[in-house]
Amino acid sequence: MAIDKKNMKVVNNKTHSLDGKALMQGKGKYTDDLAEQNSLVIKILRSPHAFAHIKSIDVSEAQKLNGVALVLTYKDVPHVSFSRAGQGYPEPSPHDKFILDEYVRYVGDEVAMVAAIDERVAEDALKLIKVEYEVLEPVLDFETAYENKSVIHPEDGIKEMFPIGFDPKKNVAASYEMHVGDVEKELAKSDVVVDETFYTQAQAHAMLETHSSNARLDMHNRLVIYSSTQTPFHMRRIMATTLGLPVSKIRFIKPRVGGGFGGKQAFHGEMFCALTTLKTGLPSKLVYTREEVFGASYTRHPMRIQMRIGAMKDGRINAIDCRSLSDTGAYGEHALTVFMIVGSKVLPLYNKVDAVRFGGRVVYTNHVPAGAYRGYGAIQGNYALESTIDILAEKLGMDPKEIREKNSMKEKETSPIFEIMGEGTKGTAMIMESCKLPYCIKRGAELINWNKNWPRVKVSDTKVRGYGMAIAMQGSGIPFMDMGSCSIKLNDGGSYNVTVGATDIGQGSDTLIAQIVAEELQTSVDNILVYSSDTDLTPFDCGAYASSTTYISGNAAWRAAIKMRERLIKEAAEYLGEKPENVEFDGKIFTSKDKTVSLYDLSVQWLYNKNLHQASVTESYFGHVSPPPFMAAYAEVEVDLETGEYEVLNYVTVTDCGTTINPMLARGQVEGGIVQGLGMACYEDVKYDKKGNLLSNNFLSYHIPTHKEIHKLTSEFADSYEPTGPFGAKSVGEIGIDTPPAVICNAIYNATGVRVHTLPITPEKILKGLKELKK
């Protein structure tokens, strides 16, 4: 039953983020702010070669250096393969990584670890480690990786946890195939068939807080780790398994986190901190340098995506065939799941096709490993699909808006893909209970004045404005897999402690959980004390990924609040000598006929005087469906025809994410996603040299959008209500990032006639295209 948004007093109302003021005042404590004062400082010796076997390694000189506490190589650490991906159990990623190994598989891979009394001693010690490498032939072009004579994972002891198409002897981390109907037959029947191939790059997360962790033993000799992580509970499980410790010996605490975007779903320094502290008994810390974040953590999976689409003259799309090749780099973190989303969260947009096919491989190369990154798979697939849809529209002589309106998903419809494809496993059938995509397309067109402006407006002899669009969808958590939980405890005076595993990494989940609980218990957010993500103190949550927090953790919080409300009313009824159904509660006072009692009085009595007990509840939630948010996006791009340079003057989005629990934070998610997507579309160029050295490894050589590039963002939300969501909400964390590559590609084409098939869309590529057009 839908709740009228007009009656909501906290949810869907403007609420400042709970931590915003304190963070601006410098009072927020991030991981490294909480390291013990006398922590050993850990530094990692990293491989100078893209692929090599360690023939010998001599650490004796380093160990002798004054101030060095510990040096570890592959000979000193447990030889247990694991996945750093930070996923649930069993992981859909191959266990293909050792804490340290005798092979190094990319420039930056870990060779050895030093812990010393300070950073300078640790760095000096690294220089004293003597390594003799047998340099092997690297695979640096992912299109040649399959069955290459260089096998990147020749070692024993690596495995898949369930069938994912893992075939390391052929350099394959995962593979996948699916189809509905007969694609070839439908393409043959089509009046028009387009066949286009696109390439996407290895975007860097570039969160401002670098990967950080630190460890100490508490008075009971338990390992306590602060980590800048999105997945504290998965970390605890994976660390326990890999180091052979009971889960009870490990506590993970997530303090404030300085941005994640998927990059902090995974392990980075945590194993080294744990080993150092376990072996020395001393506190330790590891803070990645910016260069390490670029060159030795994770990137987005680069991909080649071929789209073949067939349509009839009237614009009806018959069939979509998508072949993809993904580069997972040296290790297979999220190899299969990212790959599948290229299909599962992209192709259902056009659900009226008679046939659809998706498949291909994820290959190993000797590049920086790829892992989770906001919108993973979806942004790559969206660029390929939504660019190809524009190409198809032109061939059909149709307005790109019209072909989308005709073929895209509508409310109460479905796609067979939902049931076939999940994340690494089978999916879940679902009907779109909320889908305002037609409204989003229409409203966005009004905001950009599409009918007047499309395809282009000439500004001068050398400047032209192009207009482009795309549509997108995401999901809301992974059904039957992602679980969140929430505990609520009543304090004397009537405030509530709310503990959640939901991992606030800056997106504001603490705030929106407070809003959900406050709305249900009819109080203000000031009365809700949220504490998140400490494996000792808070209930479980899968963590902040897969657009799950609002929907999964939010639903858990809502359920807990509903239960708390029922419980309070029941107990107040007993006090008043009435039946619960006759008692009303307005957040402060329980009333039944002429009798009243306040929450304040009851809460004090229960702790000190009568009916002594602690009122508390815990509830969990997992999704039975994953309702997608939808978006239509449009851009106005001004291109200089003489130089190929361009500026995005206005980026318009209309989003259906159900109820916006916090309208300002929802806008922050959408706009933050758009700007990261614009980075991938326009500026963020990843460059390696011929030996596999990453050249774009700092903020000067890897250009993320700044205030100079970003002009106007126009962001609106559709009036929508998802019946399975908390107060009608769906997710909003990833949807924003999906559209910019296709939208900018389409706008540049409409301005210039140049279609750019590789990201980023640089002035050089546009200029080259313009010159070719003149020939």
């Binding site: 931590d19 601006m24 570039a206 000067l700």
Partner: protein
């Protein structure tokens, strides 16, 4: 070596190495509000005011600031709260890691340039990277703060 400087108007004396940078000195003395995002003066997270002007403290040698005035966020708490209000109004705040640097640079902008144009604002804050927000919302928030009397 001993270096004396004014930290938020209080004279302090710290024993530092000659090759030590100001961000390192302050953090090692418990002033953890100084955030280090790149340690190579490219992200702006560690911004402080030196003699009232924004500098990236990861590239200022502590030995070079004898007798100078350093302002950290602790020195402008009320202004930071005002800036936070406008960031919240525009939905421009997220993880907060860059916010301390932003607050200091925006405060300095207000002190140093009267009625700046959008271009002047962007020029002033371009060195402060933010990966979470849409940036446009920050510009709106900054303009609202600058209008405050």
């Amino acid at each position: 070596m001993l270096v004396k400087f004014y930290l938020n108007d209080t004279l302090v004396s710290y024993d530092v190495r000659p090759d030590e940078y100001l961000s390192e000195t302050l953090r090692s003395h418990g002033i953890k509000s100084v955030k280090v995002g790149c340690n190579e003066s490219t992200c702006g997270s560690c911004t402080l005011l030196l003699e009232g002007k924004p500098v990236m403290s990861c590239s200022v040698l502590t030995a070079s600031i004898e007798n100078k005035h350093v302002t950290t966020i602790e020195g402008i708490q009320e202004e930071a709260a005002k800036i936070a209000y406008h960031f919240a109004e525009e939905g421009a705040d997220q993880c907060g890691f860059c916010n301390v640097g932003y607050a200091l640079v925006v405060y300095a902008l207000k002190k140093n340039i009267k009625n700046p144009t959008d271009e002047q604002i962007n020029d002033y804050i371009v060195g402060n990277l933010c990966r979470c927000s849409g940036l446009h919302s920050q510009l709106k928030a900054i303009k609202a703060y600058l209008k405050e009397e």
